[in-house]
Structures are given as structure tokens and as C-alpha cells.
């Protein structure tokens, strides 16, 4: 078959992406794609054209077990960083005398600790229509939650946005007030790893702004999303 003809390339690419190109013709096409830029381009064009059919579907939150199974399949050591004790700097640091050596070792160790235990909490909170609206991240070892508003919200006067931890069992726990735009840093009383243990999702409600933390959610819930751990 002659793959030089542009119309033929286009036809084959369209049916390859749609899925109707089958059997020997599909296998031959598949084999030729990696080595043929014109085929790659045509396939990419048809993917851009047809994939919006699928991307227009309203999102469905997968059960938490799926993420745990994905993480279990990803090797922990599959990282470009080497463990801190393998680093020449540590031993060089030890060789330097007294106080200087100690503080240097401390710095290297802190940095290495961060790379060895980079467990992070991540939650994307969605509006009911499925639009991702907020991104919440936190290091397990820190005391701060970072909330980034992806689509600015109009809450109106005298009201505030409250972020809640929704535990698997028990009552929602208030985490702090969120600015309706930009980035908010919420400082929490104890280690985030302890606060967020057993929390399956985060939610945001609109509360009357009384100048003190709400005890329990009373206003409408505007965003919600599952809380994921990176390891």
C-alpha cells in the first residue's frame, strides 16, 4: 500500500483513531506510525478532532480504592533522587570540623528528608457541574494547607467560604476560611498528617461571616472533592 498519498494517509488515520481500521491493515499502520512523521501528524489531528466526544462527558468520581491500587503499582524508588546517605556531600560534611560540620549535615538532612518523604495531600474540589474549582495541597509533615482558587467565586457581602475536612466517620472539622480568589494559606494547629488522617474528602460551604470560626457547616456546600495521598 502506498502511504505517500495524503488523502490515503488521512483516511487511514481517521479510521485508526475511530477504531474501524482492523486486522492486518491496523497492525501495518500501527507499525509504520512511529517512523513516519506524516502519519503521526495525521493521527494527532484526528485525535484532537474526535476526542472531544469523550472529553465532554460529565466527570464521575472514581472510588478511593482505584487510587490506592495505582499508587501500589508505581515503584517508590522510581525517583531521580538518591538517598541522603549516598551523597558525597554528607560525608564531606562530616569531614569538616565541629560546628560547621554539624549545621551543614543538618541542612543536607533536612533537604534529603523532604525528598525521601515527600508525601503530600492533594484534593481538587469540584463544583456540582464537575468543574474543577479549587486545588488544596499540604505536606504531611507541615502545619499549612495551601488552597488555590481556580475559578474566582462571588460569595457576596457578609459571607465567607469555609473549608471542612470530611472524615470517614464523625463530624466535619473546620480547617479555615478561604479567600474567594488567588491563593490562601491556612495554618492548622497540629501536623497536617494527624489532622487529615481518616479524612476521605474536603468540602467548602458558604457561611455567614461572624468573625469567628463556624462550629459546623450551616450554609450550602459549593465544592467537594476526594482527598488523595501521594504515596
Amino acid at each position: 500500500m502506498k502511504y505517500e498519498r495524503p488523502e490515503l494517509i488521512d483516511r487511514l488515520a481517521s479510521e485508526f483513531v475511530l477504531g474501524t481500521l482492523r486486522g492486518a491493515a491496523r497492525r501495518r499502520f500501527e507499525r509504520l506510525v512511529p517512523a513516519t512523521p506524516a502519519l503521526q501528524e495525521a493521527v494527532a489531528e484526528w485525535e484532537e478532532r474526535l476526542m472531544p466526544i469523550a472529553l465532554a462527558l460529565p466527570p464521575v468520581t472514581p472510588p478511593p480504592a482505584v487510587w490506592r491500587r495505582i499508587v501500589a503499582q508505581i515503584p517508590v524508588l522510581d525517583r531521580p533522587h538518591s538517598p541522603w546517605w549516598d551523597r558525597i556531600n554528607v560525608w564531606r560534611g562530616l569531614a569538616i570540623t565541629s560546628v560547621g560540620a554539624l549545621s551543614f549535615l543538618f541542612v543536607v538532612h533536612e533537604e534529603a528528608h523532604d525528598q525521601m518523604f515527600p508525601q503530600t495531600y492533594v484534593a481538587v474540589l469540584n463544583a456540582p457541574a464537575g468543574t474543577p474549582s479549587m486545588l488544596v495541597t499540604a505536606k504531611q509533615v507541615g502545619h499549612t494547607l495551601t488552597v488555590k482558587v481556580l475559578a474566582p467565586i462571588d460569595v457576596g457581602g457578609g459571607r465567607m467560604l469555609a473549608l471542612w475536612a470530611m472524615p470517614n466517620s464523625g463530624r466535619p472539622m473546620y480547617l479555615g476560611a478561604i479567600e474567594p480568589a488567588g491563593v490562601s494559606m491556612l495554618h492548622v494547629g497540629s501536623e497536617t498528617g494527624r489532622i487529615l488522617r481518616g479524612v476521605s474528602s474536603l468540602a467548602v460551604t458558604v457561611e455567614p461571616d461572624r468573625g469567628q470560626p463556624p462550629q459546623a457547616p450551616s450554609g450550602p456546600e459549593v465544592y467537594r472533592g476526594p482527598l488523595l495521598e501521594s504515596t
Binding site: 488521512d10 475511530l18 477504531g19 474501524t20 476526542m51 466526544i53 472529553l55 464521575v60 475559578a151 501521594s230
Partner: protein, 195 residues
């Protein structure tokens, strides 16, 4: 946001950046990517496989592939969500072919898959220009062409399976699909607006 992002899906730049970080081995970036796109890709897997358990497995397989192949994603060639949706859809179609199910296929309207833009914020509707164009172009198809196209796209049916399902001759179905694809190409190139 840069002006050209108006035609892209929400957070396209963020997703592309995350894929770059994943290629460097960042598990944090991978977690955020899953949080951002897992729901959409799960919806795609559910639509194709119509079985929760199988869809969960396909999503899992797809994301492990995304982790392993993130470095092979070429930003210049395709949008990041298109690339990820292709990876997950291929996992689903492989599963369908494994099943080789001659089971009955429910009729499915492609337009049903596209939610109304009215309840979503303005920014979201603008970001989904791709969807608007596709919707207008799909509306320009004859119903039978639309049905044939959707059966092939979502159910992974071959020409002869589509023909069987629609109780139409193979040649007729082939030409329906061919014409539907050519129409979509022309219509989308000029930015929608139906016939």
C-alpha cells in the same frame, strides 16, 4: 491566561506542566494530575465499558501507563487531555476486544454526552470551545451517520459490527462513516455552525 487557551479544555496548561513533572519522577504531580483528571477519565471508561469494575481496572491501567509514558508525551503534537483520554480509551478498547463481546450494544446518542453549557460558569463554557464546535458539527450529521460514528467510537465496533447492529449493508455503513468523518473534518476546520 493567554488568549489561545480559550479554545482548550480547562487547566490544559496545568495538565501539560504536570506531565512534565511526572516525566521527572514527581509523585506529587502525579497525585494532582489524578485529582484533576481522574473523574473525567473514569467517565470515559464507564461510557465505553458500561461496567464499574472493568472501568476501574481500565482507569488504573491507564494511569499507570500515563506514569510510565509521561516522558513520551509531546506537547507540540497534542493537547495533554487528548493524549490522556487516548491512553485510557485504548485500555478500554483493548478490554472490549479481549471480551470480544457479541453482546447487545445499547443505542447511544453522542449529543447526550455533551452537557448543556447553561449551568456552568462563563469561563468554563469559553474554555470548552472544542466541545461547542464538535456539538454543532455532530448536529449537522444525519442521525444514522451519527449513530454509526458513536458505535464505532464508544463501543469499539468494526464496520461489519456496526452494520450488523444497524441492520444495514456493510457498504452503506462504510460510506456513512466515511462521509461522517469527512463532514466533521470540514465542519471543524471552519469552526462549527452546522450545515
Amino acid at each position: 491566561m493567554p488568549a489561545d487557551s480559550a479554545s482548550k479544555f480547562p487547566h490544559s496548561e496545568r495538565v501539560a506542566w504536570l506531565l512534565g513533572q511526572i516525566a521527572l519522577g514527581s509523585r506529587e504531580a502525579f497525585t494532582e494530575l489524578y485529582a484533576l483528571t481522574g473523574g473525567l477519565l473514569f467517565a470515559i471508561a464507564l461510557r465505553i465499558l458500561r461496567d464499574r469494575h472493568a472501568a476501574e481496572e481500565a482507569l488504573q491501567e491507564g494511569f499507570v501507563k500515563v506514569w510510565r509514558q509521561a516522558s513520551s508525551y509531546v506537547a507540540a503534537r497534542s493537547k495533554p487531555l487528548t493524549w490522556m483520554a487516548t491512553v485510557v480509551r485504548n485500555c478500554c478498547l483493548d478490554e472490549l476486544r479481549r471480551r470480544n463481546s457479541a453482546a447487545e450494544v445499547p443505542a447511544y446518542d453522542a449529543l447526550e454526552a455533551i452537557p448543556d453549557e447553561s449551568p456552568t460558569p462563563v469561563e468554563h463554557a469559553a474554555a470548552n470551545a472544542d466541545v461547542r464546535v464538535l456539538r454543532e458539527c455532530l448536529e449537522g450529521l444525519e442521525p444514522v451517520q451519527q449513530q454509526a460514528l458513536t458505535l464505532a467510537f464508544f463501543q469499539g465496533l468494526s464496520h461489519s459490527e456496526v452494520a450488523q447492529h444497524l441492520a444495514q449493508p456493510l457498504g452503506t455503513v462504510k460510506s456513512h462513516i466515511r462521509r461522517a468523518l469527512m463532514w466533521l473534518q470540514r465542519c471543524m476546520q471552519r469552526g462549527g455552525h452546522g450545515r
